[in-house]
């Protein structure tokens, strides 16, 4: 057993990057990410097939089929991100691997950052998978570029919002099961307004509800660009809620992660 002086070299790479890289390896090389990506592409293939066949029967206009496919991609991509984030801390706690991370010099803020980064990679993968579907459905009507641009902007804002929400839930949840269940419940609560009848979405109260909810506001914005053919700046106010949610929740996740990550029952 070699003896050596306890002087360690200064860290060259920030802690969040080291944690993030390892989390990405675990997620993608461990196979979980690939499996989720495969399931996502199967789902998107089904949606694309249905919208394309409906389009052939003139039930759906081509722009609408692109919009529908993109909205499904954003919603399901965000769901994947949320599930990964909801496992981030509570999962480590349940697998008894959290304590060994907490005794390293990497701060809890950096641990949180690395895990958030890995969760977001699921959205990026989902978006990359979505590209050929959007291209196929939107070719010929000049909507592909707008669809991809709005998709990455809105999808990323919603993914950051939901990943942060998942991290916050995961930090406080008493078990991994509770974390996943609560995160899914919150996601359904955010999705609920999309299921309201069209009449309920009209009027100032209906519009307020759509605008305040980051998910409905983001999807509404995508629809305005793709289906109504509006310019990016024309309906930019619909992005306020997704931007605010991403900013507020990511800051909240950073604060919660830095201050409240704990070992759970018996361990503080």
């Amino acid at each position: 057993m070699a003896s050596a002086a306890p002087t360690m070299p200064q860290r060259r790479t920030p802690g969040w990057a080291i944690v993030g890289r390892q989390e990405l390896r675990d997620l993608w090389l461990g196979g979980r990410g690939l499996l989720l990506g495969l399931a996502f592409s199967v789902l998107l293939s089904t949606i694309a097939y249905l919208t394309a066949t409906n389009q052939a029967l003139n039930f759906l206009e081509q722009r609408e089929s692109v919009n529908l496919t993109l909205q499904v991609a954003i919603a399901v991509g965000s769901l994947l991100v949320l599930l990964a984030a909801a496992d981030a801390v509570s999962g480590e706690r349940e697998r008894n691997t959290l304590e060994t991370l907490l005794v390293t010099p990497v701060s809890r803020l950096h641990l949180t950052g690395g895990k958030l980064l890995a969760a977001l990679s699921l959205w990026l993968a989902a978006f990359v998978i979505t590209i050929p579907y959007v291209w196929f459905l939107g070719r010929g009507v000049g909507v592909v570029r707008d669809a991809l641009a709005t998709g990455i902007v809105v999808g990323t804002l919603l993914a950051v919002f939901l990943a942060s929400l998942g991290i916050i839930v995961s930090v406080f949840a008493s078990s991994n099961r509770v974390s996943l269940a609560l995160s899914l419940f919150l996601l359904l609560a955010v999705f609920a307004p999309t299921q309201l009848p069209g009449s309920a979405q009209k009027g100032w109260a209906g519009e307020l509800l759509l605008r305040v909810n980051p998910l409905t506001a983001g999807e509404h914005y995508v629809g305005k660009i793709l289906v109504s053919g509006h310019a990016w700046s024309e309906d930019a106010s619909w992005l306020i809620s997704p931007i605010a949610a991403a900013a507020v929740f990511s800051v909240a996740a950073a604060i919660v992660g830095a201050r409240f990550i704990h070992l759970g029952r018996g361990g503080s």
Partner: protein, 315 residues
Amino acid sequence: MTPVVETHGVGKQYGSLVALENLAFSVQAGEVLGVLGPNGAGKTTAIRVLTTILAPSSGSFSVGGIPHTRPAKIRRLVGVLPESAGYPERQTGEEYLRYFARLFGQSRASAQEVARALLAEVGLSDRRHSLIATYSRGMRQRLGIARALVNEPRVVFLDEPTLGLDPAGQRQVLSLVRRITAERGATVLLSTHLLAEVEEVCSRVLILNRGRLAAEGTVSEIARRAAAPRSARLRVAAEHVERARKTLTASAGIEQVEPGDGHLGSLIAMLDGSASPTAMNDGLRALADADVQVLAFELEGARLSDAFLAMTEEA
């Protein structure tokens, strides 16, 4: 010599529950300190406080001269094997150690070197590319000890490192503990339930009970202080039993002599509670004078286990 770990009145409370109270002790460099105590005594809490996982509710401590108010600096000086530590099943042993070496600031190249060297040291070189999922419990514990050493710590905290291991696994872990102090010069705080392993590897012992320090000292000091001999078990030649019984009964400080169970010729001499701890010496001398052949002799109540039971049951 400046102690490498020093605590002053450290306490930890969870609401109204007192997990640790007024813990004060110090450990010198190169010592192996055994931390003993029944379940719920506060051993794990003490380790979590000293490794900065938990903030103390009261008191102060330092590790390597660094005050507890600078936890990030302390973490650079300590290595920890937590109780029932978990491992990522889908990583290989080498990936796992490399990751932790990186978290402690090593470059990629040196993290790789450290991982390989440590795996060799704990005897896992041939399994370095195997998934941790395929490791036995003993291998995982050795991997955990290797992980605790990635930052060349000055103090290593091992919380129940032999829990659930078979005797061969326990032996390997204890051998590693000895090497950590002998070859690295690191201090080890070893929390365990197994008193035999404390007697085997620890230079000093702390006994915790209900969050308080019940005793501190070397194994022999504690055994002597807390558990003066209460009885002696001896075996004499079968034809000398009656003579031995009479001789011992007549000896000062021996209250009663009873036949022991088991072998023919075994006797139990009950010592007078107020007698000197060396009362049995006189009895042995008397047996020698009476020409009784003593085949086996053991004082009961002078072992660490007796001290442990005495101290943790009294409180």
